[in-house]
């Protein structure tokens, strides 16, 4: 572990007991630096979500070790890590404000402080007009923003995002990507994004890890070289096209293997 290292996976393997037994991923060695925006792409079923579950402590690795801020995880979610899931995880019985306040309430903060933090997070995510609405009254994109606000209001030091924009249309994805970059810059958090969208990974990340077909391992690490103040306008940069092309050239063979079409 270097001083800059925020999260480190050392020879991590995850197998699921059968029948049939499945070797989901690994061995994986990975170090993510503090404040880095790191994305993971890979073919379907390669173990991306398993990697995220192992990283946040929801699942124990079968072998190997995971360190967060220098401490080894032992099957528990440490303070400082929060996750935004692919599925809508807003609570339909709570208003937007109450959803965003959920994590703060569970941690027992005083109501006045909660109200201030929630108001700020709700405004920050452009949800101020809908603060008293219920999730059923919001669009899919707005519900996902509620989930992101609920995560960010806790000021996590490591944010894990599991295909958070998977259900959104392309325009909304680009705009949400811009918002995510803004949040990342302002909070200084480390971000790990799991995505199947190569353009999303190329646009948002400092570094992209490309995973192989199952059992997932990193077969390439692509440094994007973007500045921190990037936004979705970089999609017109010629470098963006070459980055996406590089990611696809790494992934094509692995995706063919997943489909059973490999030569």
């Amino acid at each position: 572990m270097t001083e800059q290292s925020h999260v480190a996976l050392n020879e991590v393997v995850r197998r699921y007991e059968g029948p049939p037994a499945v070797h989901a991923m690994g061995p994986i060695n990975l170090t993510i630096c503090r404040g880095e925006f790191f994305s993971v792409v890979g073919p379907s079923g390669c173990g991306k979500s398993t990697l995220l579950d192992v990283l946040c402590g929801l699942v124990r690795p079968t072998s190997g070790s995971v360190h967060f801020e220098g401490r080894e995880l032992h099957g528990e979610v440490p303070d400082g890590i929060r996750v935004v899931f692919q599925e809508d995880s807003s609570m339909p019985w709570l208003s937007v404000r109450q959803n965003v306040a959920f994590g703060l309430r569970t941690s027992g903060k005083p109501e006045k402080e909660i109200a201030e933090l929630v108001d700020h997070a709700v405004s920050f995510m452009g949800l101020a007009q809908f603060a008293d609405h219920y999730p059923a009254q919001l669009s899919g994109g707005m519900r996902q923003r509620v989930c992101i606000a609920r995560t960010l209001v806790l000021r996590p030091r490591l944010i894990l995002l599991d295909e958070p924009f998977g259900a959104l249309d392309q325009q909304t994805r680009l705009l949400m990507g811009d918002e995510l970059l803004r949040l990342w810059r302002e909070t200084g958090a480390t971000v790990l994004l799991i995505t199947h969208a190569l353009d999303e990974a190329a646009m948002l990340s400092d570094r992209v890890g490309v995973m192989s077909a199952r059992p997932g391992r990193f077969i390439d690490m692509v440094e994007t070289g973007w500045s921190r103040d990037r936004d979705s306008r970089i999609v017109s940069d010629p470098k963006f096209g070459s980055l996406t092309a590089r990611l696809w050239s790494c992934l094509r063979e692995e995706s063919l293997k997943t489909m059973g079409w490999a030569a």
Binding site: S89, W93, F102, Q137
Partner: protein, 253 residues
């Protein structure tokens, strides 16, 4: 007019139409008033009998028994549902039993219940619980099955204890389906207790209706029947409005 209001209007109109038709049929002799008295007479009879105070003890007996049976059914059914939900082996055993439970007429157990527990409230409460608890158990299982796995993951991410997970995530997520079970439980408890009193008991409104029937006192019988019906409708109406408020929060599009 909103769709909900229109549906409510149609429902009221249908019921009012049926009541008016019955009134006309009874008043014109199409239906023999010795068989069924006109609804207006039923209302007068209900007001007379309930207002006279002669059935106060029966009313207290019956409704206290129903409430006790309902509360016990909700407690027992929810607990049993949660236990069965937590064990796949228990689930394998319980699922077919629950699926076929309501094909068994539980009233047939009343004589052995009297033999075991004696006359009085206890066998009626047990009968009410036997009628109502499985509905709560089924709805509890359905409610717990319906808690989205992502919310359970969320609970772990927020490091909630099992008790807090239950209170903050599981119960609110399962509440709409639990509520359906509570509504059914109230109806089944009411049916179980009134029918138990009607068949074998010597107290309560069910017995009073049965006594009036056997004494050819149609006026008293229909008056008491209408009273039971109104109380059941009001109790269900309260639960219905409460459930509607819950559902509207979750489904406003």
């Amino acid at each position: 007019m909103t769709r909900r209001r229109a549906a409510l209007f149609v429902r009221i109109a249908v019921v009012a139409g049926l009541v008016i038709s019955l009134e006309i049929c009874c008043r014109t002799g199409i239906i023999d008033p010795l068989t069924i008295i006109p609804p207006s007479e039923m209302i007068v009879s209900m007001v007379d009998h309930i207002g006279s105070g002669e059935f106060n003890e029966s009313i207290v007996n019956t409704f206290s028994t129903i409430i006790l049976a309902f509360v016990m059914a909700v407690g027992f059914g929810t607990l049993a549902g949660a236990l069965v939900h937590g064990s796949s082996r228990l689930r394998d055993v319980a699922d077919p039993l629950l699926a076929s439970y309501y094909s068994v007429p539980t009233f047939i157990f009343y004589p052995p219940l009297v033999a075991l527990l004696g006359l009085g409230k206890t066998p009626l409460v047990v009968l009410g619980v036997l009628s109502a608890a499985p509905a709560v158990m089924i709805s509890t299982l359905s409610g717990l099955d319906g808690v989205p796995p992502v919310l359970m993951k969320l609970a772990r991410i927020h490091r909630l204890s099992p008790a807090r997970t239950l209170w903050w995530i599981v119960l609110p997520a399962a509440l709409p389906r639990l509520f359906t079970g509570f509504k059914l439980a109230l109806s089944y408890a009411l049916i179980g207790v009134i029918a138990g009193e009607f068949i074998l008991s010597g107290t309560g409104l069910g017995y009073a209706i049965s006594f009036a029937y056997q004494s050819f006192d149609n006026r008293a019988m229909y008056g008491l029947m209408l009273f039971v019906l109104l109380v059941a409708i009001i109790a269900n109406g309260i639960l219905y409005v409460w459930e509607g408020r819950l559902a509207r929060r979750r489904s406003v599009g």
